[in-house]
Amino acid sequence: MADSFNYRELAERYGLEPLPENVLRLARLVTRQEADLDEMTWVIAQDATLARRLVRAADPWTENEKDCGVVAVRAALLRTGVRCVLLLAMSAPLTFALARTFHTMLGLELKNLPPEWEPPFFGEQVLCVIGFSGKAAGKLFLRLSPDGARRVAAAMLRVEPEQITRDADISDAIGELLNMVTGNLKSNLCDSGLDCELQTPSVGLTRQFEIEAVPGGGWERAVFHAPGIMLFVDLTVNPWGS
């Protein structure tokens, strides 16, 4: 297509935010299946947070988490495999997108809790799932209590929770929220060369949840908290889905 519209100009005009440069670079390296480990190690080592998460993913019981230099990153990379890197790299923009969505649409400040702080979550949960398929394949899961889901829907529609009387209103609001977050993830994947299409969100109630990673993919969990709401987000992705 003749690019008579300059993307940078359009992005500026529309107020679009680009993917962080290191994530984009890393994703492009992962996309090439014969990725250069040295280059990948170097890019990861430049991002202290990502390096720490990779080292931790390679060895959850490590006591030497502070050593995230090139040697430690390379060893972790060899241990986890390249697929894990994309998952970790995409998790940070995903967390940001979720927090921004809650802040913008609901006026709620989400606090990101470490997964090990996860309290037991028994009983009925509202589960929303959106899949994506293409060069990258995966699923994004969002879980929260029925009461939390009602609060979220009410905040989105600017009404009191008691005014939400139809389950369909809750399902639609939760589905649309996750759609916003997954749309952001899909855009990041596409801009990294991993074209994919979103599926329609499905929302339902469940008493048991056990994540099933997509074939060949890894998974990552994040836990968030806002007043009266505990939110669990699981992402599974295989960067070489097709």
Partner: protein, 132 residues
């Protein structure tokens, strides 16, 4: 004459938010849950502005936009994309197709109002006349 605005989104929540933003204004809001319904409504009502999502069942927003721009009676209607999808290829493709503006979800209601106002004149509803 009140402005006629068509909101095309498979999420009723989004259509209600759009309705809430427009409530203080003298306008008629039409709603459609997918691109096909949107096209039917656009042909029937000839709205002054279309607010269009991309990811929808039955017919997506890009297909609807393509049909709108191929129709001599509809192609002049300004289209504001309101979508969570913002990747390079889609943004450029949509600009090529002729959408007038783009707002990425999540969005601030004030920003949506600002963008709609740039595409169609919006007048506040006049206060009711005092009795007597």
């Amino acid at each position: 004459m009140p402005a006629k605005i068509l909101s095309v989104d498979d999420s009723q929540t989004i259509r209600r938010i759009v309705g809430g933003v427009l409530f203080p204004y003298d306008c008629i809001l039409y709603e459609a849950a997918n691109g096909l319904e949107g096209l039917v409504a656009a042909r029937r009502e000839k709205p002054d502005l279309i607010i269009l999502d991309i990811s929808m069942p039955v017919m997506d927003g890009i297909s609807m936009l393509t049909h709108l721009m191929e129709d001599p009676e509809l192609k002049a209607i300004p289209v504001l994309m309101l979508t969570a999808v913002s990747d390079h290829n889609n943004v450029v493709r949509i600009a090529h197709l002729g959408a007038r503006d783009y707002l990425v979800k999540p969005f601030h209601e004030a920003r949506l109002l600002e963008k709609m106002s740039q595409l169609v004149p919006l007048r506040k509803k006049s206060a009711p006349l005092p009795a007597g």
